[in-house]
Symmetry: C2
Subunit: 173 residues, 2 copies
């Protein structure tokens, strides 16, 4: 899909295609449509990220709270979005043993209790062994630093999803 | 449900219950959770509305773009949210004749083309005859005035949905 195609979309088409670039936040894609036309993938991405950065802290936390626990209840009950399911699958998180699932469930619960949002990680950039390691490490971070780190992961996930949709390599950091 | 129950919810429960107070915008409920504890229904409502008011214009338009056309394609293909389906049903919008559906489809398309978001109306406060009449009237409004009017309807819908959830009469304006 090229950028002319993107720029020709009405808002309904745009939200259908880009509504889950930020997990379960079609509001953000629907807002970004106001900024068209876009010059390229990087420009489109820039508007998604600028919207996130401009939200009050409660809104940024709200974005995180729309994410599932990694390898958590949504996976078990088949309630992941298509994008998240693909990312779980690619990272090998569909085939964890009971002990690994229990370990992750406990770490996820500790993380949620400490920060008030779920642990978010761009798992396509790592492997399944990295998940509990990163979770345990980030559990120790100060809350303000951890909010920034988590939003950084949201953006990495969004960048990869946008690149998938547009059939291009992700824009450089 | 009383406010103590609401204040005791973790964010997952809160988003499960209040995630569609603003149509297809769970991000907003997820953000409002940051403001707990709430003193009463009116206080909870105030935080939903304050979040909407603080968004940039693109975000406010984004909220509107997450709404379905009234008696439109989402109704036809069974893709309305439970709340919206109930509101459509209560207003008699499930049983329109072909001529009425066509009239609404044409007015909805004109409205979308003029304003860049769908026509939103708190149909529980009117009747099915009011829908095309209000649509035709609001089509003539200046865009800035119409954005305010449309967000006012989003808030009326949110107020009624919150009152349903909490089992209370809606807070006074």
């Amino acid at each position: 899909m090229d950028v002319e195609k993107v720029n020709s979309m009405d808002f309904g088409e745009f939200v259908d295609v880009f509504g889950n670039v930020i997990e379960r936040c079609p509001l953000i894609a629907a807002a970004v449509w106001s900024q068209r036309p876009f010059s390229d993938l990087e420009d489109l991405e820039k508007h998604f990220f600028a919207f996130i950065d401009a939200l009050p802290q409660s809104g940024q936390e709200g974005i995180l709270r729309c994410h599932p626990d990694l390898a958590g209840r949504e996976l078990q009950r088949g309630a992941l979005t298509a994008e998240s399911l693909r990312e779980h699958s690619g990272a090998g998180l569909m085939s964890l043993g009971a002990a690994e699932r229990l370990q992750l469930a406990e770490l996820n619960a500790q993380y949620r209790a400490r920060f008030g949002f779920p642990f978010v990680l761009a798992v396509r950039l790592g492997d399944r062994e990295a998940v509990p390691r990163e979770l345990a490490r980030r559990l120790q971070c100060p809350p303000a630093q951890e909010l920034r780190a988590a939003l950084g992961e949201v953006k990495k996930i969004g960048r990869l999803r946008l690149a998938d949709l547009l059939g291009s390599p992700p824009a450089q950091q």
